[in-house]
């Protein structure tokens, strides 16, 4: 089984004046290719910090984060950016589509950044747009789309360049229940089809039911639960 993400004794702390605040404490975990992982935790539990560390946006104070066998701590900022470009996909709570690019162009963007926006890239975009049901809106700008439609575009954008890891931060947070479920179907379906590792940070109880593995983060400590077993409290 290919390990995509490996966290070893990862600690993250911030200085606040004289005192040091530890947000993550000696976290160990590894995620394999094709896994659908859910991370639960209260506000301020360190979920976003963990996502920042896994994506290389921030660096661990101690310990090691490895993505596709590359130790992030050894990489320059530029190299980490390129690693994100090549191996990571992102889905944001607020969709964060580029407002000045059309739906089609938004999905094409990661391929363009990698220099793969040729004919095969365009075919891939077309396939994904059909898969998310927005082929007929390809030329529309994001502000003409509903929230659910925008998030579907974001899912397609996150997967178009076949990243090893997709990070989804509250992907259903701004959506109603039905639309949220559609998005998760899409994400899970596409993820499994293409054997992508998907790490979803959420409050949504329904997501847990879809997960291959479930983690909670409390007081900076990461705990894995047997499927369907996280405490009620930690799901808030």
């Amino acid at each position: 089984m290919t390990v995509v993400v490996s966290l070893r004794a990862v600690t993250k702390s911030y200085r606040e004046g004289e005192t040091e605040r530890r947000v993550l404490s000696r976290i160990d975990a590894s995620f394999a290719a094709g896994e659908f992982i859910v991370l639960l935790g209260k506000s301020g539990s360190g979920k976003s910090t963990l996502l920042h560390l896994v994506s290389g946006i921030d660096l661990a104070s101690e310990g090691e984060v490895e993505i596709m066998g590359q130790r992030l701590g050894d990489l320059s900022e530029e190299a980490r950016t390129l690693l994100r470009r090549d191996h990571l996909g992102f889905i944001f709570q607020a969709y964060n589509l580029v407002p000045t690019l059309t739906v089609e162009e938004n999905v094409l963007l990661p391929l363009e950044l990698r220099g793969e926006a040729g004919a095969s890239g365009r075919d891939r975009v077309q396939v994904l747009l059909e898969r998310i049901g927005l082929a007929n809106r390809a030329r529309s700008f994001p502000d003409l789309l509903s929230g659910g439609e925008q998030q579907r575009v974001a899912v397609a954008r996150a997967l178009v360049h076949r990243p090893a890891l997709v990070l989804a931060d509250e992907p259903t947070g701004n959506l109603d229940e039905r639309t949220g479920a559609d998005i998760l179907d899409l994400l899970q379906g596409l993820g499994h089809e293409e054997r992508r590792t998907v790490l979803v940070v959420t409050h949504d109880r329904d997501v847990v039911a879809r997960a291959d593995r479930v983690f909670t983060l409390e007081h900076g400590v990461l705990t894995e639960h047997a499927k369907g077993a996280p405490s009620k409290e930690s799901r808030r």
């Binding site: 390129l82 090549d86 607020a94 000045t100 690019l101 990661p110 363009e112």
Partner: protein
Amino acid sequence: MNRLLVRSSLRHLARHPLLTSLSVLGIAIGIAVVVSIDLANESARRAFALSAQGVTGRATDHVVGGPTGLDESIYVALRRDLGVAAAAPVVEGYVTTPREPGRALRVLGIDPFVEAPFRSYVAPGVTTDLRTFLTQPGAALMSTPTATRLGLVPGASLPIAVEGVKKEVVLVGRLDLPGELAARALEDLIVTDVATAQELLDQRGRLSRVDLIFADSLEGAKLRERVALACAGRCDVTSAASRALATAQMTRAFHLNLSALSLLALVVGMFLIYNTVTFSVVQRRPLLGTLRALGVTRGEIFALVAREALLLALPAMALGMALGILLAQELVRLVTRTINDLYFVVNVRTLDIDPLALAKAAALGLAATLLAALPPAREATRVPPSLTLRRSTSETALADRAGRLALMGMALVAAAVWTLSASARGLLFAYIGLASLVLGASFTVPWGTRLFARLARPVMGRLFGMLGKMAARGIVASLTRTSIALAALTVAVATTVGVDVMVHSFRATVVEWLTASLQSDVFVQPPSLVSGRGDGTLLPSVIARIRATEGVLAVNSVRNRRVRTARGDVGLHVPVIGTGQPSLHRFRAPRGGDARRLLAEGDVVAVSEPYAFHHALEVGSMVELATDRGPESFRVVGIYADYASDEGGILMARPTYERHFDDRGISALGLVAKPGVDLAALRDRVRERAGDEQALVVRANRELLDASLAIFDRTFAVTDVLRLLSVGVAFIGILSALSALALERSREFAVLRAIGLTPRKLFRLVTLQTSLMGLFAGLFSLPLGLAISYILVFIINRRSFGWTLELTLSPGVAIKALVVSLLAAVLAGIYPAFKMSRAGPAIALREE
């Protein structure tokens, strides 16, 4: 480059057409001003160079004499005794014609038999029937365009005036050379035989110079040496290039100051670019964060922002060049008029559209754009990759940085003070110091804005209630927008204040000088081509009649001549004072010596402040002048204030002059009226008695004062145009900043509308805010403007021209600064305020 990112940028600009076009317009005006001044300066320089080339031809050297020129015998000796083959006599001067008033024609008297190596266009047989040319009285050659313009056909005569005396020339042939440049070199040129020119210009037996061609070899150098030796004090050999250069140098400071002022609009334009690019960065921070998260590198983000700035710069450059060429058509007229008023005769008929000037301005515009875009582009690269929306980071960042920026600004101001005081003479250092001061002051604007807004808040609350408080707070809440707009307006208004104070101070000083100097009641002189010189000659018969005019108590006179020195030509003034004290304004001599007594002490002169400054002369220094007895040294006994010309002048007592010069002419008379005589009536009587023999300008004291001030005001007409344009660019800056604010704060205003604020009240809120911004800019601009005026009056003016001015301040300046900035801000705010107040609450809320 990433095509999608480029497309995204283009669409971003297209989605904000008002902001985009305002930025383009702002940069375009900045470029236009630089282009226009450059073209106007270049056209004047080129016109001068071409006309000089037309008369100098291929001469490498000139033999020149004193102010009355050379005796003809020197030419004869050169050819006969020294065997100089390539030598040509020249008689040269300016005349006017009633056919084209206000324009000077240059008369060039030559000997056609020796001309071929020098000016091939007048060689025998090339142009006309030689016998007619040599024998017909007043026979003259002109280029076809000049003759056509003056309505002349061969055989027709042209009435001319030489120092007011009417004469006539007859067109006997045409000079034509292929090529546009050659044709322009012959423009306004009247070529005659030497004898004809001597008669026309009243220089019988004299030559203006002898043109020579020395081979560029050892033999040539030896021959040159022999000629110089043979001159033996009666004449001098100068190279043609150095002579032309010396004349061109006269206007160097004038051109430089215009160029410096032209950069102002571009600097103000830079604030505009900075503002627009910062806006686009601030507005898209979340997007930039997302792009960073998706794997767009810092370098790519930097390139994205820089490219957007470039996208603004390219159309701006094209528009700026087109506007610049249009503006230059008008400016070249103003620049030429000033050169003719103050320096020398130059006719600029066509605007030279020099591709190099255009390229220079384009490069400058591009560099200014990129420089202005640099800080926001760097700021954009610092946006961290983000997974969430963060809106106000940049506002908080600037608010935090305002104090640090102000400290940096103060450091720049300190550096400016150091630069200004470190060098006593360098003009470039003065401008660097000035630029550093302006930049430093603009860095303190965000901090000042925060402070003023805090102070204004309670006052505004008391005056306008909650709306007033919100208006004051709104300025700080959007500090990135407001402070840059305020900085641009502050710089523009401060410069207006600075230049205004300088011009007022200058004018007041000149009025004081003129009042002290013009001690006669009625002034008489022949019309002069260069207004500031007055070196014509009054006919003795005319002088005699004027002296005998009824009502004249005493007659003062002055002889003005151009005299050659080792440092170039200079105006020599020789007054004869009939009554009262010699009118030397602010005469400085050791132990407060009296000017009249000191000047009577043998071979001595007094020099004007600019002349002393330019040539580092002090009391006791020696000045060598080319007199009619050869080069003679004169001791400087005093330095006097004189604002007639920036090259300065030398003053000599009449007895001293007559000992060293053969000339006995008088250039102007000052008549002192008997007590109780009506000056207007005296002036009319003088005109009547002078008759038609010589055209004269007869003016009463007050009229001469007014005429002198009119020249003064004309000199600053160009600066008025430039200042106006800078304020125009700043106005666009405010409009652009407020439009950006309208976009940014649409949600905030929608909330206000949703909770019941009427459109009218919202309009009032925005207008209150813009008024407050105008007031702040006005207040910021005052100290900066005064500092600028101090630098202009005491440093730049002194280093450019050598004048000592007194700083004159009036409360009107402060009021004007406040009114200009308030008006600019309020006017610029009307449209954005209207737009903000019309925005429906539902639309703005939905956008979020």
